[in-house]
């Protein structure tokens, strides 16, 4: 019994040290999500700019959070009014938003892909995708996951600027037995 109590206390100590270690590790990680510019490996720590430029953490930590990419859910940031980026600089530029979902069914075992035009056209112009990357007819573009992973089709933006390709379910969002008609 005495032995038990003793190891129990030692174990308690061990666990609290472990707990602190883990907390520390996560805080290192959280900081790693938005690395300070002087430590990010691309800015020259000696450049006078690193003291002047905005730190990613300062701008991004106040936006709706996400688990990948910039760690910001950009669709929500826009939709919920956290940010209001300009749509144009020249007054004559035509702004078009299209509310049209396209189901892309060639996904073998994976849930189907739902491509939402609204969220895309809030950010992008039709010409960014049509007809350079995608035909304007559902099912006409020979998209496949291999090409996407190589940076073609959806992968031109996703994996570079928009949320990365590790987020399978965000594109493959429609279960096979629940295809909307």
């Amino acid at each position: 019994m005495v032995l038990h109590k003793h190891t129990g206390r030692r174990l308690g100590l061990k666990y609290s040290i472990l707990g602190i270690l883990m907390l520390w590790a996560t805080s290192v990680f959280a900081a790693g999500s938005w690395t300070p510019l002087e430590k990010d490996g691309i800015h020259d720590p000696e450049s006078p700019a690193v003291r002047v430029l905005q730190q990613p953490r300062e701008a991004l930590s106040v936006l709706p959070d996400d688990t990948a990419g910039n760690m910001v859910h950009w669709v929500r940031a826009l939709q919920e009014g956290y940010i209001n980026p300009r749509t144009n600089i020249m007054p004559e530029t035509k702004i078009e938003v299209l509310d049209l979902d396209v189901i892309m069914p060639e996904t073998s075992e994976m849930p189907l892909v739902l491509f939402p035009h609204r969220q895309h056209t809030e950010w992008l112009d039709c010409s960014n995708c049509h007809d350079k990357i995608f035909k304007q007819k559902a099912g006409e573009t020979p998209v496949n996951m291999f090409a996407v992973l190589q940076g073609e089709y959806c992968g031109q933006c996703h994996g570079a600027v928009s949320f990365p390709l590790t987020e399978c379910k965000r594109c493959h969002s429609v279960p096979r037995n629940k295809v909307p008609r």
Binding site: H43, T93, L124
Partner: protein, 142 residues
């Protein structure tokens, strides 16, 4: 007899937990060793076709900073930036004349090209490319 069993079981459980704790500690330690690996913000673009050769630091273009202020369509449709890292062949002369970055960095939409260091802020020796973020390191890394 019963008590000895209990102590024995207790000891086994303790050893088990200790091993578990040790394994966890090693994992945490490993993660910690991984942590200092430097990572630039997702979607930062390095532009260094000419800068370093001409004695300037490479240029760092932060997507995250600009997309808070402008939608993609402003640069990639209105202003005509190609959506491929390295595809826009920019020279400082063109920028000063009001092309590319100079369409905004003109002292009106944004601060002017006099602030050399704010754009030319990169480490020497960087290749032109887009910096992938936490997961994919951008297209091509897969």
């Amino acid at each position: 007899m019963k008590i000895t069993m209990k102590i024995l079981l207790g000891m086994i459980a303790t050893i088990h937990q200790t091993i578990q704790a040790a394994v966890l500690t090693v994992i945490v330690a490993l993660l910690f060793v991984e942590a200092p690996v430097v990572q630039a913000e997702y979607a930062d673009v390095i532009l260094n076709k000419r800068s370093e050769r001409e004695g300037m630091r490479p240029v760092i273009f932060p997507h995250w900073f600009h997309r808070i202020r402008f939608r993609c369509k402003v640069c990639h449709h209105e202003l005509g930036f190609e959506m491929r890292a390295g595809a826009n062949d920019m020279t400082m002369e063109q920028i000063t004349e009001g092309k590319f970055c100079g369409m905004c960095h003109d002292g009106e939409v944004a601060w002017s090209v006099e602030n050399c260091d704010l754009c030319h802020s990169g480490r020497r020796g960087l290749e032109s490319r887009i910096v992938g973020g936490h997961e994919t390191l951008g297209p091509g890394a897969w």
